[in-house]
Structures are given as C-alpha cells and as structure tokens.
C-alpha cells in the first residue's frame, strides 16, 4: 500500500473478487443484515459477504486494528467508501454499535473497555440498541429520569426507555441514566452499557398507527449493572450523548444512502393511476402539477445529498447542509405520501386483504409511517432550532433555555 492509488487498485480488485454480484444490487425491503449474537441470513451470498468483510476488518475500516478494525487512514477509508459506492455494494451488516457507540468508546472509553467492547462489535457479534428517550423525555432529552444508584461495585437501574428500535432483538443497550438528581439536569447524567439479558429488563414492542413496529418500550426493574460498564466520567454523560447524536446524524445519512425506508417512484405511480393527458379533467391536471412539483422537490433533495458528499470530499464545512437533511427529507416524505394518497384515491385507503394490491397497502402503511419521521430522531421543530442557533447563529430566546 505504497500510495493511495495502489490502495484503490487493490481495494477495487478485492471487492470485485469478493463481493458477490447479488450483493451489488439495490436492497429489497427486509434484506438488511443485522449483526448480533444470532445473525439471520436470507441467503448464502449475504453470509459470504458478511464474513468476508468481517474478516477483512472492514465492518469498521477506520478503527485501529488492535480493536478489530481495518486500520485504514481517513484517506484510505474515503477510497474504500467510494469503491463500495462505485460497485453498488450493499452494506454487509447494519450495526448501531459500530456507527454510534464505537466512536464514543474509542474517544472516551478506558483501555479495558476498548478491549472488551470493541472487538466483538467489529466482528458484528453484538447487536446494539439505544436507550435515550423516555416517556417524559423526548425533545427535552436532558430531563430523563431513569436512575442508576450507586450500590458499591455496581449500579441499580430503575425506570423506562421508549422508542428503542429493536429493543426486543438487541443484545446490549447503551443508555443514558440519571446518576445525580440534585444538580442542573445536564450535569447529573451518565452513559452506561447494559447486557439486555440482565435480570429485571423487559422489552415490549409498541404498536403504531401504521401497525406493528420495531420500536419498543424497555422497562428496568432493579437491574444490576457492574461499574466497569460506565463509559466516560460519572455525571459526564451529556457530553458523550451529544457526541453520540452527532454520530447518529452521520449514520442516518449513511443509512439513507444504502436504503431509504420507502422507495415509491412518484412519477411512475402517477403514470399508472392518473388518466392519460388527453383524457384528463381540470382536477386531474391540477393534481398532475402537484405530482410534478413534488417529484422536483425530491430531485432537489437528492441533488443536495450529492452536493453534500462532494463538498465533504473537497473538505468544505458541510455542517449547515447536514443540519437540514433530516428535516427536509422527513417533511418531504410526509408531503409526498399525501400526494400519493390523492393520486391513488380509494385504492390507497386499504389496511389489509385481497381487495388491494400489495403496493397499494404499502403506500397506505408508508403514509401512516411518515408521520413518525418528523418526530423521531429529533423532531422537525428541534431541527429548526438547531439550524436557527448553530447555522444562522440567531440569538437564544427565553423558550427552550437549557439547564434550568
């Protein structure tokens, strides 16, 4: 690996030889591979691709090799990412641990924690979930109440977490807990990692307006957590949480590249359901215009994602762009499904059964699902606050002042 160009050549050759052709296609719904104690593969190629990337250390290409990573430099990692994109390789696995917790452990963890937590993560052996939100701590995350009380060599955790994706299928959780209730709220929070198999933990899936979901509420009843599972300083968890949320934004954008949860092509669906131009009523024409405008908004968004990538590669500051991506995409999705419901008329109103085509039912579900998108992962209102304060640097108002 004398130069970056050699590395590119070697990487390309390796990927061409090792990424099965079926893993170079767009990912159908439900074909994501989740790392964990038990990994489910839909077919052999998925397993091969998973194992080869794992053995190469390329689940975490830019982590140090001593912790199970690929040991690549940032430049090499960028080359690898561009080669993966070039070949349209699917991600070999999805793992919140690697994308979010891993970088925080690398930065804030003790040597012992790095050796214990990172290598299994890097081999995709542990499926991680995130315990941040609580029933009374949503947008105002720092008001969280789940407590961890010092009991000598361990903490005793009591409380509940909500909106935990795949809480019922995960092996470990990283979670924010209150370790001091008597100080301003950000100053009494700590970050723990917890084995979901510990006695006293129960994860219950949540039904949404769109039906079954991957979200769970997780209950903690006198759960013992060894003290060595505290990451970073006691009561210093808020800083780590902010770092985690930054990684979350990056992970979300990466996740978005691989597989957007809903891929309904507006123009082709409109072509199928709307009357032909020459048979269109004035109302059809007006609806058609809304379809076109919506498709153009979507195009402007995807061009913005492309531009953000280009600007990041040119080492320009993209924090402003990054801060609008979730906001714009989730709001657009909501608008898009409203248009789709209008296009399909009563064909979009089905819940289940033979009277509707699978795609029609999927559109109805996705419409209902779209409502969650502007709430989860930082509501649109929180995103707008972030843009106003961090990007436009508008002055702090009275509402939403933190630390009181």
């Amino acid at each position: 690996m004398s130069t970056l160009e050699d590395f590119r050549r070697e990487t390309r050759a390796w990927l061409e030889a090792n990424c099965p052709p079926s893993m170079r296609t767009a990912m159908p719904d439900g074909e994501l591979v989740w790392g964990g104690r038990t990994v489910e593969f839909k077919h052999e190629d998925q397993r091969l691709w998973f194992e080869r990337m794992r053995d190469k250390g390329w689940f975490c290409p830019d982590w140090p090799a001593e912790y199970g990573g690929g040991g690549l430099s940032p430049e090499q990692n960028a080359v690898l990412e561009s080669e993966l994109r070039r070949l349209h390789c699917r991600p070999p696995q999805i793992n919140l641990g690697i994308w979010m917790l891993g970088p925080v452990v690398l930065e804030f963890g003790t040597e012992e924690q790095k050796r214990e937590l990172l290598p299994p993560m890097a081999r995709g052996e542990i499926r991680w979930c995130q315990g941040f939100s609580e029933p009374n701590a949503g947008s105002d995350l720092a008001s969280l109440k789940t407590s961890a009380v010092d009991a000598g060599d361990h903490f005793v955790v009591n409380g509940t977490k909500i909106w935990t994706s795949y809480g019922d299928k995960s092996d470990w959780m990283y979670m924010l807990v209150r370790t001091n209730p008597d100080v301003p709220k950000q100053q009494g929070i700590s970050l723990l990692v917890v084995d979901m198999a510990s006695p006293g933990i129960e994860a219950r899936p949540i039904d949404l307006i769109s039906g079954k979901s991957s979200f769970c509420q997780v209950f903690f009843d006198n759960v013992k957590v060894p003290k060595r599972q505290l990451i970073g300083p006691l009561n210093g968890g808020w800083t780590l949480a902010k770092a985690l949320l930054q990684h979350e934004r990056r992970a979300m954008s990466k996740f978005g590249e691989f597989s957007l949860p809903t891929h309904f092509d507006l123009l082709s669906i409109a072509g199928k359901y709307l009357p032909a131009q020459d048979a269109s009523s004035p109302a059809d024409v007006a609806l058609r215009q809304r379809v076109y405008a919506m498709a153009m908004e979507e195009m402007a968004y995807s061009l913005t994602a492309q531009r953000m990538g280009e600007e990041a590669r040119a080492r320009r500051n993209v924090s402003g762009l990054m801060s609008i991506m979730k906001l714009v995409h989730s709001e657009q999705e909501k608008d898009k499904f409203e248009v789709l419901l209008d296009v399909l008329g009563h064909r979009a109103l089905g819940w289940e059964g033979e009277a509707f085509e699978p795609q029609e039912l999927a559109i109805a579900k996705a419409w209902l699902g779209s409502f969650a998108q502007t709430i989860a992962g930082g509501s649109s209102e929180v995103q707008l606050n972030v843009v106003a304060k961090r990007v436009l640097e508008l002055p702090e108002g009275n509402a939403g002042k933190q630390g009181k």
Partner: protein, 388 residues
C-alpha cells in the same frame, strides 16, 4: 456531473465578486434607476460597466474557441451570474450573450456566425431575443407571421417583454412560417435589424428598472439569408438557448436571494423589540431556518442545471429537465425568501430607503422571465412522466 465549482470557476466567482462590489454595487443600480426616472429612455445598464465586463472576457465565457469564445462553460457563467445577482448588477450579458449569442452559435450559418459572434463578444453590437407575445412565457405560442415574399420574408406581428430591447442593434425574432401557435414545429428564427423599415420599439418600464421592450413589426422585409437555420425548424436551437438563459437567470436569482437572506438574518440579530433581538423569537427563527433549507435546495438545483448545460453526455431532453428544475427551484426559494425578507424587516421593509425592495422587484421580474414556476413544473413533468 459535479455540483460544486471547480477551483478555476471559484476563482472567477471571486474575481467577479470583487469587481462588482467595487464597480457595480446596489447603490449604482439605485442611481441608474433614479437617473432614468429623470432623464427619459434608458438602456437600463451602464455602458462603461458593460465595456469592462467585456474586457474581462465575461462575454466570451460560454462559446467555443472557434467562435472566439473561452469554452469555459455555463458553470463558469453561473459563477459570474451569482455575483451579478448579489449586486443586482444590470448588463446585457444574459440578453445579448447567453440568449442571443447562443442562438447564433447553435443555429447560425458560418456566415452569420462570422458576422455576429465577434461583434457580440466584443461588445460592439448588441442583439436581443424576441420570443414572448402572450403575457406568460411559452416559446411554442409564437403567432407572429413570416410570409414568403419573393426571395425573402415579410414579418408581421408583435413581441413583448424583450429583455434589453431598447437600444439593441438587432433582434432575433421567433416567427411562425408554418403550424399553429402552441406547436413547436413551424417556428423560424430571423435576425432583424432594429432600424429595418416597419420595426417599432417601445420601452416597457418594468419595476426592476431594467430594459424591457415591446416590438411591433409591420411588413418588415428580411432576406432569406437573415433566417437562422432551416425554415420551420428553429425551435430546438431556440429552446436550447433559452435553457442556457434559464440556468443563468436561476444563478442570478440564487445570488440575489443569498444576499437578501444574509441581510435579513443580520437584521434579525440587530433589531431590538421588547428589549431583545427579534431573532430570538422562535416564530421568526423557524421561518428563517426554512428559508435557509430552501436556499440550499435551490443551490443544488442551480448547480445541477449549470452542470447539465456543459455535460455532453446528456441529451436535449435531460438538459431541458435540469434547466426547468433549476429555474423553478431558484424561483421558488427566491419568492419565499424575498417575501419573508420584507416581512421580517417590518416597516423598514416597505420603505424605498432599504435595498430589500430592489431585490424583491428584481426577483419578481426574474421569476416571470423565461418561464415561471408553473411553466417549468409542467415542462419538467411532461419530460419525465411515463404513461403506462
């Protein structure tokens, strides 16, 4: 297709920014306006400034070297137009070069190119594109007739909203030699001298203080050699030239909108009411944040439009789609942000003392020029929709 300026393009943008800030700031546009109001007919731009732009090579940017151009592409032009927008600078760069020059580049014979390209690029002559007849832009709606008359044609009809039409040396007139208004076929393009018998040019004083004109043509005789391209087949070159104009105008709107947005955010930080800066109110913060988001979406669309014009791998339809996307989104963001800018400036926003109104007016004219939002949504959709 890259959506960021290359180093060279950025360098050009920086040079343009520096030059225009020194030579053509908004105060200069205000002065132009006030002088025109006192002194009658104006060409809407400062001839000395145009001369300097020409000397800097801006008029040569989009054309092939063989025609005396710099082959620096539409993205190079876009870098300049953004700065033009920021400063509201008036010049015939769009009318005579991007639109007029492009028609001659794309449809003209070698003789016609030899007669016009060097003169246009050198700024010695100025040409204006006369397309619109109806209040809303639609290049297929041409009704002005060109009837065969011996070895030439007789042109009769009217044109409106001709950018930089007052004082132009000649016009490229889109005329109908066949078909019906609404059809792309049957449109022919003619070069008509401004002083030809039967041509009447009248100023249309638009609220952006730029030069717009209406034309009345009555039995204007032109030779067959004045026709650009084949008879009845002028539309493709016309539309391709219009697309270049659309993306450059989109870049101008983007620059104007960015400047206006920056000013507005600054105002939100400094204007105090109820003992606090008004920018601390969430009702304004969220609206300002949405403006920012739309401005970013517009920038991506404009960059894609500019890049599409320069991409030889794209066909005419793909270019047309991207041009419509750019013009539509830039207009959409400009519209939202200019309206918010006035509102957020409160009472001061509706005074002539502030520049906000100058931006609002220019943006509103640019929105309507070369196709409004509805036009481009329809065009994008018609080029995209697959009926099954």
């Amino acid at each position: 297709m890259s959506l960021v300026y290359s180093e060279e393009q950025q360098l050009l943008a920086d040079t343009a920014a520096e030059f225009l800030m020194a030579k053509s700031p908004v105060t200069a546009q205000r002065k132009l306006r006030d002088e025109a109001a006192e002194g009658g007919v104006s060409e809407g731009f400062d001839a000395a400034l145009w001369r300097e732009m020409v000397d800097m090579g801006w008029s040569a940017i989009p054309f092939p070297e063989a025609l005396g151009g710099l082959e620096f592409g539409c993205k190079g032009l876009g870098a300049v137009f953004e700065q033009i927008g920021r400063n509201l600078s008036a010049s015939p760069l769009l009318s005579s070069i991007v639109l007029g020059g492009s028609v001659i580049e794309l449809a003209g014979s070698e003789t016609q190119q030899a007669e016009w390209m060097a003169a246009l690029i050198g700024g010695e002559r100025r040409i204006a594109l006369a397309v619109d007849e109806t209040p809303r832009h639609d290049p297929t709606a041409v009704a002005l007739r060109a009837a065969r008359d011996g070895d030439g044609y007789l042109l009769t009809g009217t044109k409106a909203f001709v950018a930089d039409g007052v004082g132009a040396d000649a016009f490229i007139v889109a005329a109908r030699t066949g078909g019906q208004p609404g059809e792309a076929g049957g449109i022919s393009l003619f070069i008509v001298a401004a002083d030809a018998a039967g041509v009447q040019v009248s100023p249309m004083n638009t609220f952006d203080s730029r030069n717009h004109a209406s034309l009345a043509l009555k039995d204007v005789r032109v030779a067959a050699s004045a026709r650009l391209g084949a008879e009845g087949e002028g539309f493709a070159a016309l539309d391709a030239a219009l697309d270049r104009g659309r993306v450059c105008l989109a870049a101008e709107m983007l620059g104007a909108t960015q400047a206006l947005f920056d000013t507005t955010v600054e105002y939100l930080k400094t204007r105090v009411q109820f003992d606090v800066p008004i920018g601390s109110f969430q009702a304004l913060q969220h609206r300002a944040a949405w403006c920012y988001a739309h401005l970013q979406l517009a920038r991506s669309a404009v960059m894609a439009g500019l890049a599409a014009m320069d991409d030889p791998a794209l066909d005419a339809e793909a270019r047309a789609r991207m041009a419509s996307l750019a013009k539509w989104k830039a207009g959409d963001a400009a519209h939202r942000i200019s309206r918010e800018a006035v509102q957020m400036h409160g009472g001061m926003g509706v005074t002539d003392e502030l520049d906000v109104g100058l931006y609002l007016k220019r943006i509103r004219v640019a929105q309507a020029s070369l196709g409004d939002g509805d036009f481009h949504v329809q065009r994008y959709g018609d080029l995209s929709l697959v009926e099954t």
